[in-house]
Symmetry: C2
Subunit: 511 residues, 2 copies
Amino acid sequence: MSAPRATTPGPGLGPGPGSGEPVPVHSRALDLDLGSSTQTSHRLLAYSDALLSIIATVMILPVAHTKIHPDQKLGESVQQLLLTKIAVYLMTFLIVTVAWAAHVRLFQVIELIDDVLALLNLACMMIITFLPYTFSLMASFPEVPFGIFLFSVCAVVIGLIQAVIVVYGFYHPHLLNQQIQVSENQNFYKRHILKIILRGPILCFLAAIFSFFFIPLSYILLGLVIVFPHLSRFITWCKTKILGQRNEEEEHHSLETFSFYLSEPLSKERVEAFSDGVYAIVATLLILDICEDNVPDPREVREKFHGSLLEALSEYGPNYLAYFGSFVTIGLLWFVHHSLFLYVTKATRLMGLLNILSLAFIGGLPLAYQLTSEFAEKSHNEIEAIQVSCVITFFASMFQFAIWTTALLHERETLHPFARYGGKEHAFMFAKLALYPCVSLGAFFLTCLLSEFSTEIFHLMQIVIPFAFLALRIFVRISLTLIKSVMSFSRRKVVLLEEEEACLSPTDTLS
Amino acid sequence: MSAPRATTPGPGLGPGPGSGEPVPVHSRALDLDLGSSTQTSHRLLAYSDALLSIIATVMILPVAHTKIHPDQKLGESVQQLLLTKIAVYLMTFLIVTVAWAAHVRLFQVIELIDDVLALLNLACMMIITFLPYTFSLMASFPEVPFGIFLFSVCAVVIGLIQAVIVVYGFYHPHLLNQQIQVSENQNFYKRHILKIILRGPILCFLAAIFSFFFIPLSYILLGLVIVFPHLSRFITWCKTKILGQRNEEEEHHSLETFSFYLSEPLSKERVEAFSDGVYAIVATLLILDICEDNVPDPREVREKFHGSLLEALSEYGPNYLAYFGSFVTIGLLWFVHHSLFLYVTKATRLMGLLNILSLAFIGGLPLAYQLTSEFAEKSHNEIEAIQVSCVITFFASMFQFAIWTTALLHERETLHPFARYGGKEHAFMFAKLALYPCVSLGAFFLTCLLSEFSTEIFHLMQIVIPFAFLALRIFVRISLTLIKSVMSFSRRKVVLLEEEEACLSPTDTLS
């Protein structure tokens, strides 16, 4: 959940006496000393990222905690789940990410804060954390207008608070982004950022009104809030494709006058911070379940197991295995994400969207844990549980892979030179990203074929993967050498080889 | 949960094409390009901070979720809680903070990471997240050696993994802190850091052995793990006080040769990141309770409230009030912490300890929420519930205040010049920090006197405080002006006034 920004941590201090770490004194940070109440915003943003990522993810718990009767077929109960709780989870996740994106844009414009802004932001966070509850109401009472009305009111209040923040920021221009501060048409910027921020709340306001007359329309309006930014982007993209290059140039021109802060992608640091929050909360939700469900009752131990704690605990064996397996999965998916974003220099909108979809599936992993630990080696639901886990893992890792392929499409803008197509790091990154999709897909089909051993296959997969990651670098190196030597031996495509050599050289000579 | 470090976010890149933010290229980050697999550690550390802070805090949930029968007197049940679950929570919190402190020290020595270190760190995190479970076992079966044995084994494994990380780091010296890298006696550093890291695990190893013979001794050894760093510090401090200044100079000298990385306080950034994690998870645990407990059952609404959702929801009125009240409390305590650490330039050991104690009480706030929402306006437990909430809030804010007073003792080293004794910012900071202790203490005594209106008093307090924070700056300014004018009017202590003027001038002229 870190957000290393170009500003200094404290109020623009150099290294304190006795501190050995060199703290770069950024030019903006010095402005602090002008108004003693002005502060850098980095910690406020990091805290907001943490709150938002936890709120987005935590709604998986009611899904995971839904008690399914062991005799019931999992298929039916999953359907029942899908209809209400999973819908609440996904809606919450997506709406919170929309709110998060608006928050990122807002604080790309306002770079410094003071106490009033900090308190306003906290008020905004308070309303956002209340959103999951309104969703729960909507899911439980889809035909009653009150749930959707309450949600819309919250969204409108959030929009209004953010608008107040914008107006306050432009009233105290020293808080603004420097590029906007020196620009002459501040009013234009103000209108534009207000338009972006109030777009959602206005749709929600309409939804609140319609909720009393015609509820389906309200739901459509709410859905529009989520897809609107991507939809408008897609329409612009289609337009430029149809009308040709000329328009694109025009758009490019208008972009430049707009400054990058309003139309460029979200800052990579905050994407990382939000992702870290989701991974961290998912990893730790698991131990909560373990602690609440798998501590045996002292009386039961005395009566059923004749006082032997070890015997009682051995009952929970599969749960521990499922816990460690899930933690390893989440940890390694974080590791892949971390490796990927080390080489990403800029996250485009599409990459951001794919990242959020990946995170939505990551958030589903506690459900996978609950399924594998409850049904493993028990009943006829075993295979389904393991297959659901495989599917969740597959999609979470596949969307990560999609981020990579999207980045490759515009590799000059989005990727570090090392990781671009043709280099050794490229091959290594490819292997890292491809590991989980391949393994989960393989496990899925293996469980179809060898349904007898599905649990064993699944646990074997979870245990083997960390070692696969450790050996990956060696493996990639060997296979690259093999390919090279085969090619040089056959000496058929000399020209092509030379090209590849040229591509490989920057890393080879350095490492 | 942010950790803004002096290193660049990506692998040492300048600003990407089209990105307007100036990213300072740090000299260390350029080293990355030498070994293509080497990375900056900031995101790994931020993720670790997030995991550790959540793990430390999340064990309050079993405490808060303990069902207390409404007819039962709260006094008795609180005692029962105290004996087991609160003990588990506090032990987990303190042990996890010890593990966190060791982790901070470790990665002050190792500054860059590669894939192997990242995976080793994840393995370490996995074992740490398992610790709360071993505590639950210990609390449920205090007389069975298995719980304490399991805990000790985990602690030993964590220590071993960290030792492997140290050895790996010193085997690849380019990963180390630059100061150690250029130093000639690397072996000395290696031994010293190994000693710090293995101190706890060795005590735990002894505890594991003794757990089969004499359990109380094991518990004493585990307690020693928590207090050992502070105890040794305290003993050294006493020694220097008794033996006089001469020894202090000697110690100072040895400190210098040691380099600050091994004996200096924890990095302020990671203290902030860990604190943010605790505040964020506590704030969001609340909404989880709201969503799980306060969504009415559709059938109940139909039968009991004749289909009126609003009527059913009005039943939960006090819960909403308690939720918003708790969120406001946590948000504002975070705000005070944030304001305080803006002016702290270095967190000494004692300040770190006080911060952790404050956080431990912050972690208790979900319990306060549960108490106020369950018992408010219900039964004879009302006053006790509100008083417990006041006490928790009081201690959480009082320890924050203690951080401030401790910082003032060594203000030249620990505080920003603005916030030092005598300035306007000093008075403002003092007012900010004193607000919560005063109000919660006042509410506590008011509930004793006016026990009839205790709920009203408590909610009034929670609603008034945010406005108090907004008005604080004005209030402080007015009172400072008043004091000044009274003093200049009486013209009795002209010399003293001039002194104060001199103290006030740096902020006055600037703001």
